[in-house]
Symmetry: C2
Subunit: 497 residues, 2 copies
């Protein structure tokens, strides 16, 4: 494939001087239009060493409004980045709505330089293809534009450029042992690049191979491609019918919605205070020990708490953390997204709050809000919450592949018990702040939520991240069951590590 690229392509100075200034102005106008329309754009530059990424990116930067773009040079992951799933470092620097991000090398390093230099095992880079495909599909599904360039030069040209750079004193350090090694392995680069181009070209995120021998030619081709991609998305948005999501209506009574997993729970499960006290102390000690063991073993843990209002999430979390060392865990309460968070993919804020290897993060509510409150209240479109099941499973799979222990709790109480607790809160002065009008409104939407909960449990309980339902009419029982589940999960993760 790459051998058929015509590397002799050129643009004369005259044609260039006629075309380029106008192209530059058009790119600038295009970017301002994207900024206004809130379209995020991701431009990826990959290519052989010395193929000219740097100067291309610089010329692009010149044409853009600095208020709306950023350049991200990507090199080997640093100390901190290695403590997270490998894509973490890219997720956190994605552009928000309207912004343009230029990546100078990218996530494709995993299947190029890391593969060639044998920094990771074959299994790891093979797996990376799935991660990359999911990543880019999630982004384009959410209306992000992805433009990817492979800058190509032949072996002779690379050698010529290396030598030229080597002669400039201020730059000589740029062409070191590593680069010459890459040069000798030119054929391996081509092999890896071809495989990458084939496996990751998709209609929604296509690759453009750029003949980079002639800088003028490359420049014009890159500018034209970016302009076209942005205009396409702007056109699509302009012609797309505006969908205004609506709250989920109250469902009709139907026998198909009875006898769900929630109806089959034993609402009488309970525990006496005395047994509870003994068990609690034992479990807290066990988990304290495990917290230190997973720290040493560098295993991260994700613990999700979801459940009905007043089901006892807060109290349950407190019993879990009471015995822990605060340096090893964090409780992250999830509320409505901020404006900044809303201008990103909805999973973005969760990616940025993952535990470091060896640490525990406890989520008081989580990414499951997408398929519950956002669905019920009409905060997102139907297509968005439908897609979310798959996106969540992919998200948790990537955590699991990294070795993360994942526990997900659904705290279940029946409606009578909820009413009792609401009323008790209202009557106790120091607990009144815990109950709001919203809680009462949510209660009225019980039937809608029940449908969402059942669907969520079924569609996102996976072998690598199963749900655990906590029968929580008796708080003591639910707490002990939660702590036991956490302990068991951490022990299993330690065995596997």
């Amino acid at each position: 494939m790459l051998e058929l690229i015509d590397l002799s392509k050129k643009l004369s100075k005259e044609v260039y001087q006629e075309t380029f200034p106008e192209l530059e102005a058009r790119l600038g106008a295009c970017q301002r239009a994207a900024l206004e329309a809130g379209v995020p754009v991701i431009v990826v530059f990959e290519g052989l060493d010395a193929a000219g990424k740097g100067s291309l990116i610089n010329r692009m930067s010149q044409a853009l409004d600095p208020r709306g773009f950023s350049v991200h040079p990507v090199s080997a992951p640093n100390e901190i980045e290695r403590y997270y799933p490998w894509m973490w470092r890219f997720r956190s620097i994605l552009p928000r709505d309207g912004h343009l991000a230029i990546f100078d090398r990218s996530w494709y390093g995993r299947v190029l330089v890391e593969r060639i230099e044998e920094k990771i095992s074959r299994r790891r880079w093979e797996e990376a293809y799935d991660d990359i495909q999911q990543f880019e599909r999630q982004l384009t599904d959410a209306g992000r534009v992805i433009v990817k360039f492979w800058l190509h030069i032949d072996k002779k040209e690379q050698k010529k450029r290396f030598k030229k750079i080597g002669k400039v004193p201020a730059l000589a350090w740029k062409v070191g042992k590593q680069e010459w090694l890459h040069h000798r392995r030119y054929d391996e680069w081509i092999e890896a690049a071809e495989e990458m181009l084939q496996r990751t070209s998709a209609a929604h995120a296509p690759w453009t191979v750029v003949e980079a021998t002639d800088a003028r030619f490359a420049r014009v081709k890159v500018f034209e491609t970016v302009i076209e991609a942005i205009q396409q998305e702007l056109g699509r948005r302009a012609s797309a019918p505006k969908v205004k999501p609506e709250p989920m209506p109250k469902p009709e009574v139907s026998p198909t919605r009875e006898h769900t997993i929630l109806d089959r729970l034993d609402s009488n499960l309970a525990m006496e205070r005395e047994e509870y006290n003994t068990e609690l102390e034992k479990l807290q000690k066990r988990i304290f020990r495990l917290e230190h063991e997973i720290y040493v073993a560098r295993i991260p843990a994700v613990i999700v708490y979801e459940g009905w209002d007043a089901a006892g999430k807060g109290g349950n979390i407190k019993r879990l953390t009471r015995g822990l060392d605060p340096r090893g865990y964090e409780v992250v309460p999830i509320a409505a997204p901020t404006p900044l968070e809303k201008s990103h993919h909805y999973l973005w804020r969760f990616w940025s709050k993952l535990p470091k290897a060896g640490h525990i993060t406890i989520y008081d509510r989580s990414w499951y809000g997408r398929v519950m409150v956002e669905r019920v209240e009409g905060f997102c479109e139907e297509e968005e919450w439908r897609r979310a099941y798959r996106e969540i499973n992919e998200f948790e799979k990537q955590l699991s592949d990294f070795g993360t222990a994942i526990v997900k709790f659904w705290l279940h109480i029946d409606q009578e018990e909820q009413l009792r607790r609401f009323e008790a809160r209202q009557q106790t002065p120091e607990k009144q702040w815990k109950i709001t009008d919203e809680d009462w409104r949510n209660r009225e939407k019980y039937e809608q939520y029940r449908i969402c909960v059942v669907e969520m449990l079924q569609r996102t309980s996976t072998t690598y991240a199963p749900w655990t339902i906590l029968e929580a009419n008796c708080k003591l029982y639910a707490r002990i069951k939660a702590l036991r589940t956490v302990a068991k999960c951490l022990e299993e993760a330690l065995e596997k590590a």
Copy 2:
């Protein structure tokens, strides 16, 4: 001083059980009140190894609403953090309005563990005292509460605790060679701690020494102290008269405001296109080389562009960056702060956008907005912009101490030239987006701005971060002068390094 601390202080189980639950509830209520009133709270725990920081912090966490606090364990700076001025890593994790941040060890590591382990020179930790004092004063000036605890135990108690921890298999790694070395150097710790307590105790950020032999006693003392500090600030805010800042009025004509530095500029300075072209090419090459030299020498550079509207900042910046490698520089345009940025100290967003060692950051407008637009428009209180001169000088001093090359440009055009440019923009279709009603409104406030500019230039031009005024009626002249200034500054920084 520390030898007079009575380490035998104790609290009986009975008294504790009577007092503590109520204290816990009061701390929770206090935090919720601070959250509501927007008061940020910083709680620092320093102390001897094994003095009980961990379990104290855990008990505090239990009493707080997780929506409003975070715990920051501080250890040695990592790879990335070493590329920035030493306080950078603390600035970025300060709590926003209403939030509470608990520091498990802190910036005081610089004058404690880093001093004792001789990780830094005496000069460095001596200097750190100034940085710390400035840092805390800036924060409390802006209404932040700082509570600092020194947890104290004697040498015998420390030994006892080390041995106990060493016997628990899951924890034994916590007491290693390092910790026993610290133990042997107990007296040096005490010496360093005493000096620290004396030099950094201030009315606005006092230290509380906690007798930590008895965990119950320590817990009660810590809770009481935090509650009191928060209540004090809440009280202060409730009784403080509400000041609503007002826009700066148009000043009376006065002979004292004539013949300023701005009037003495030569408005006829100009350059011909031909000379410009030759000079520009030479300077761009020189700066390209310097960009790579400071990268290798790990020198960061800060380049600030301020100036009248339409003075040509954008075009000037483009000529500077045209020849650079995009991996080495970033242009940061400064607009109005976002809500998140507003909920922090006003310098916070600039701290988080500093260049890494070896990189260049170019600011299109900057922290000087505080003493210009914010002062003129009444976006901040008089006390705030008055204080800002000193805060800015301190900020730039810390950058300079780290070896940062600092260039600050004021682009000056006279009023007739500005009018010509405004009108030209309005008449050129592809430039119309560059001119807004706000530009015309700012122009009407010329007299106010002139006062601010002169005062700013005089009060913030320092030996380590001087202002350079660019006579910009002729854009070509201003660009060449800017590039020359940058080149010279980088060369000087290289010489000094």
